[in-house]
């Protein structure tokens, strides 16, 4: 069959089969979301499942045949103005993915054919200070696609047509608020965070009614005067201190607890105006999703002056420690330490470096870093590892229950951190900056950490300190990307290189996902301004 005929056949196939499929499976149910591992042919949400483990049970692509993986199709956004950063959601043969500056597209998963697209109407004057002009993904539930926009709207789209069901303006972009992260659907609720923490927004985590878009609760991440935590600030910055919530949280249905992480305090590199620990910046918050009340919190970097947002996805897993089964939460933090917490109580269990770090002697028994002297930013610059983009960044790690390894993209890079004059009048907001060491003095690596201890079991070196995701599969593989636009597969047990393909462009920044359609497994991700799906011959 020629390519042209194949495309025509594909288009007809899309109309016929996806109509049938949509009636059955575009209506994603809460039970499906709860048991996402039961439908490994789909990729139902950001993180793959509520635990954000990014582990696929698909095995068609495996150690033995991954070397034959080849590009199946590519998709190029209409406006390639920024690198793509979206994590795709896949339901019943249809993929929902976003492209800069926030367009949502529905693609046929076999051929990449566009089914519909929706583009937000953004204001001419768009504030995205300290925020990538991009979007990291959608949530899908009950034939509806949910997405946030750069001008801080939360929008519900019909999953079959792209028609707007509701559009809620949740905050003022003119005051620095944006949404870049993927929202999270729980039972009857849509949860979203907010971006803009570097310009002193009053950040929050919100819950909205899925059907109407009505706000159900708001949890502010900077306490108001008199509220618990307000004593950890000076008098000047309460209400404008950052703590953006620009990642996507995880959820434990048994504990009915939502775990959402927060960003750095502001101004970032100068803490003179915000003496104290600056709660709830750089935290993971355990939240009752029915009320929005905080159950507990854990702060990774009190009084952060190095821009070490803690927005890395909190990964949930269960394991036995000292003979006792524990419900755990792991995070490789931007500050260079790998943490394991008890996710029932928030108790600190493990905190060990997973990259070179020079700012703390270690983590004490309560989880507080033992900060070394002379590591604060200075006007002349203070050399500290890791740099401001951290030991790892927003791109998601993964966990394999087969190996019990936590796979993370590690960044080995230092920077001179420079304290500048604190500026707190929007949009003139900031407190210094950093001068990264030369790229030839830095490198990146995919590292396998023993999940319960953080002990490194293997690493695969990369040229640059990459901001990329990992994806673990039951095929015994870990997929990842590089900052130079390479995609590759490693043996999950040993880290041996098994496959590589160069797309080029800039970073392979999207979260890689995998799915199966018509009995064929695909790998999907983006690099530069292009998305690529791979399959076997």
């Amino acid at each position: 069959m020629t390519r042209a005929l194949a495309v025509i056949a594909c288009s007809i196939g899309v109309l016929l089969s996806s109509t049938a499929v949509r009636a059955q499976s575009q209506d994603v149910t809460y039970q499906q979301l709860l048991h996402a591992d039961g439908t490994p042919q789909d990729w139902l949400m950001y993180g793959g499942d509520y635990k954000s483990q990014r582990f696929s049970r698909l095995t068609q692509i495996n150690r033995k045949n991954v070397h034959m993986l080849r590009p199946a199709w590519m998709y190029q956004p209409n406006q390639p103005v920024q690198p793509v950063e979206s994590s795709a959601v896949i339901v019943g043969g249809v993929m929902y993915v976003t492209e800069p500056l926030g367009t949502v597209v529905a693609l046929d998963t076999r051929y990449g054919t566009k089914i519909w697209s929706w583009t937000p109407r953004l204001p001419e004057k768009l504030y995205t200070i300290g925020v990538h002009r991009s979007n990291r993904g959608v949530a899908v539930f009950d034939n509806t696609v949910y997405v946030g926009t750069l001008d801080a709207h939360l929008v519900a789209l019909d999953a079959t047509t792209g028609a707007v069901k509701w559009n809620n303006h949740i905050a003022e972009n003119g005051e620095g608020y944006s949404i870049t992260g993927a929202p999270r659907v729980l039972d009857g609720k849509l949860i979203t965070g907010i971006s803009g923490g570097d310009v002193g927004i009053h950040a929050f985590i919100d819950a909205y009614d899925l059907k109407t878009g009505k706000r159900l609760w708001r949890l502010n991440t900077i306490p108001a005067p008199g509220e618990p935590g307000s004593e950890t600030w000076g008098n000047d910055m309460i209400g404008t201190g950052g703590a953006g919530t620009w990642g996507t949280g995880s959820y434990d249905a048994e504990l009915n607890t939502l775990y959402w992480t927060t960003g750095n305090p502001a101004p970032d590199y100068n803490g003179s105006n915000r003496q104290g620990d600056n709660l709830y910046t750089d935290c993971v918050l355990a939240i009752d999703p029915d009320t929005g009340k905080m159950k507990w919190y854990f702060q990774f970097t009190p009084h952060d002056t190095h821009d070490w947002d803690a927005i890395q996805v909190p990964l949930l897993f269960d394991a036995t420690i000292d003979g006792k089964p524990r419900k755990l939460l792991a995070q490789a933090n931007r500050n260079g330490f790998y943490y394991v917490l008890d996710r029932v109580t928030g108790q600190f269990l493990v905190g060990v470096p997973f990259v070179k770090e020079t700012w703390a002697k270690g983590i004490d028994a309560k989880g507080r870093p033992i900060v070394l002297p002379n590591t604060e930013p200075t006007p002349q610059g203070s050399l500290v590892y890791p740099d401001g983009h951290g030991g790892t960044n927003l791109n998601s790690p993964s966990y394999s229950p087969q190996t019990n390894f936590f796979y993370v993209a590690a960044r080995e890079m230092g920077a001179y951190t420079v304290a500048g004059r604190p500026k707190v009048n929007f949009p003139d907001f900031g407190g210094g900056g950093r001068i990264d060491l030369s790229g030839d003095e830095a490198f990146g690596a995919i590292r396998a950490l023993e999940a319960t201890t953080g002990t490194m079991k293997w690493e695969y070196r990369m040229l640059a300190p990459a901001e990329v995701s990992t994806l673990a599969t039951a095929g015994g593989l870990v997929f990842a990307g590089s900052d130079e636009g390479n995609f590759f597969a490693l043996d999950a047990e040993t880290g041996k290189l098994l496959w590589e393909f160069t797309v080029g462009g800039t970073a392979a920044e999207t979260n890689l996902v995998t799915y199966e359609v018509d009995g064929k497994q695909y790998l999907f991700g983006g690099a530069g301004t292009c998305y690529v799906a791979f399959d076997l011959p």
Partner: protein, 183 residues
Amino acid sequence: MPDSYLTISDKDAANVVAYIRTLKVSTGAATTTGDPAKGEALYNSSGCSTCHMVAGQGGSLGPELTRIGMMRGAPYLKNALEHPGTDLPKVADVPFGGRWTQYLMFRAVEKDGRVVEGIRVGEDSFTIVLKDASGKFHGLWKPDLQSLEKEPGKSFMPSYKDTLSDAQMDDVVAYLASLKGAQ
């Protein structure tokens, strides 16, 4: 200037300043006392044009020098003539965390023991392209190499510290400092 630059943060501004500093634009850093005309004659007689290009004439192994006087000051130029390879230029490139070293030399040993030595002209996590002294490109698959080592401080360019007198050195520096492209 794009509108978005009006809202650049302190952090981004500091990063821009840091990058500009790496360019070492220092044309006024020191005055040159040499004679540019004599320097041009020395440049032509010393074989410099074998590897360097000025106004479309010359080789391409080393940096193009047509506008070098706009980009580098006399101290930098003198150091490059005396100690080539010790202060190589950095260039902005996203895969290298913002800056990477140009003209950095590498020594690669292939599986069969063959050695390739050259200037890095391209690299990613899995491949590297070296340009050898003859200008030939060698594309190499890193996982197949026995070893791959940087050679900091090394250069194909010879030092002129002992072959030029102080006065001749000043003349060549003056000539290079006078190269400012089309006026």
